[in-house]
Amino acid sequence: MRCCDVERLWDDMRDALQPHREAVIKHLRACPPCQALYEQYEGIAYCLTCLPPPVPPATLVPKIIEHIRSAVKATVPDSVAKVHSPIGLLFVAFRESGITYVALDRGEGDEAAFQRIKVRLGRSVVPSTAPAWVSETIAAFFRNHTSDLERVDISDLTPFEQATLRATAQIPAGEVRSYGWVAAAIGQPNAARAVGGVMARNPVPLLYPCHRVVDCEGRLHNYEYGVEVKARILELEGCSSYKR
């Protein structure tokens, strides 16, 4: 057996069942340069095995799970159902996790409405009929003017948007509050304009009652469903302390 053969077999010699084992050992006994080489290779393998195993940060597993969740969410479409209400026909998008979007029919036709919702959600939608929990959530809003927020999914929104919408849910039915009040309620008193932005983008009007937020003089500003509808909802809630 030649030196080059012996050199090549070094890593194989680490496995117990190397068929050339005897021949290699015989060669090594008689060949100091090959011995020295084996010793060095063995030393390198040893150094590599001595590297301390890296410890991942404790946040890695939750990050991975969150990553997978959002990846999955992006590929599973929302269902969209038509639900009748006192203010007109609503298109309600929902997933297992809750209602994700509530749109008022603009008379544009189903196709266009679905397209509008798809663009807003940033994922595909499939037409569906409303399961009982969806129609009941909408009906309960018009009956009691409150919503079961467990059935509304705003997890797509930023933490600021979520906090802002949750603050609107603190406003009792029949009353209104200013943008500044909401900003103060989330601990950012200078963020009244940003609150206005969140109200304008609210994907779930009614359920998170952005219609109860008015300007500091009590005037109604724009509303996803139009100012007329905003006034109508406030009237249904028995509120009169706003200005047109």
Binding site: I25, T49, P52, V55
Partner: protein, 219 residues
């Protein structure tokens, strides 16, 4: 004591190379239902592999996240027979390696060895109960940084082969499966990696080995 002594007697491995920490295996067929368990079982291992491959903690974290998302999507598309036949561990390594390759390719030239990966605190904790003197521990940490940097200087395909073989403790057939290469190619890559490491580390190797065997004898 010479590191070669075992060779002349009954050849055996002088380093604890082939005893990787056992992985608690996911029970049953892998699928989206038990994926959290899979993440829990393999995140440590894949993070370690990605870190050795990239030398950068942030890259390693993102690589592992992307790899698990890919694995999840792929598993979700498989039918039950494909899932039953899947060899989970090599498959996860393969995905991690592909993600690593894509990431490093788009990031060239690689920032070699900017991070010092050997965590001196961890080394201190590990050896706290041993007889090591503080300066010995610091030397040891410095040595480990040398080894890490040498590994990061290898071309990626050789680094993958050497990492899987010596750090992850995988067999030649397993590495061949992970890298999708013939066993002969794997062996030749491992061999070339060791030759280059020998050239980079040179006489340091003998010193590191000698120092650790001194420590062992003191134990």
């Amino acid at each position: 004591m010479s590191a070669l002594a075992p060779i002349l007697g009954d050849y055996r491995l002088s380093a604890p190379a082939m005893t990787p920490q056992p992985v608690r295996h996911v029970k049953g067929v892998p699928g989206p239902e038990n994926f959290e368990q899979i993440v829990d079982d393999y995140q440590r291992r894949l993070y370690g592999f990605a870190l050795r491959m990239t030398g950068n903690r942030e890259d390693a974290e993102e690589i592992v996240q992307d790899s698990f998302v890919r694995a999840y999507r792929a598993l979700a598309k498989m039918d039950s027979q494909q899932r039953a036949e899947l060899r989970l561990q090599p498959w996860l390594y393969t995905i991690t390696l592909n993600v690593t390759r894509n990431r490093l390719r788009s990031k060239r030239p690689t920032n070699v060895a900017l991070d010092s990966l050997a965590d001196p605190d961890a080394l201190l904790n590990e050896t706290q109960e041993g007889p090591d003197q503080p300066e010995a521990i610091v030397d040891r940490a410095a040595d480990m940084v040398l080894v890490e940097q040498a590994l990061l200087q290898l071309p990626m395909h050789l680094r993958a082969a050497a990492t899987l073989r010596f750090i992850e403790g995988r067999s030649h057939p397993e590495i061949a499966e992970i890298l999708n290469q013939p066993i002969g190619t794997v062996k030749s890559h491992v061999h070339r990696a060791v030759r280059i490491l020998r050239r980079i580390l040179g006489p340091q190797v003998g010193r590191i080995v000698a120092e650790s065997s001194t420590n062992e004898e003191e134990d």
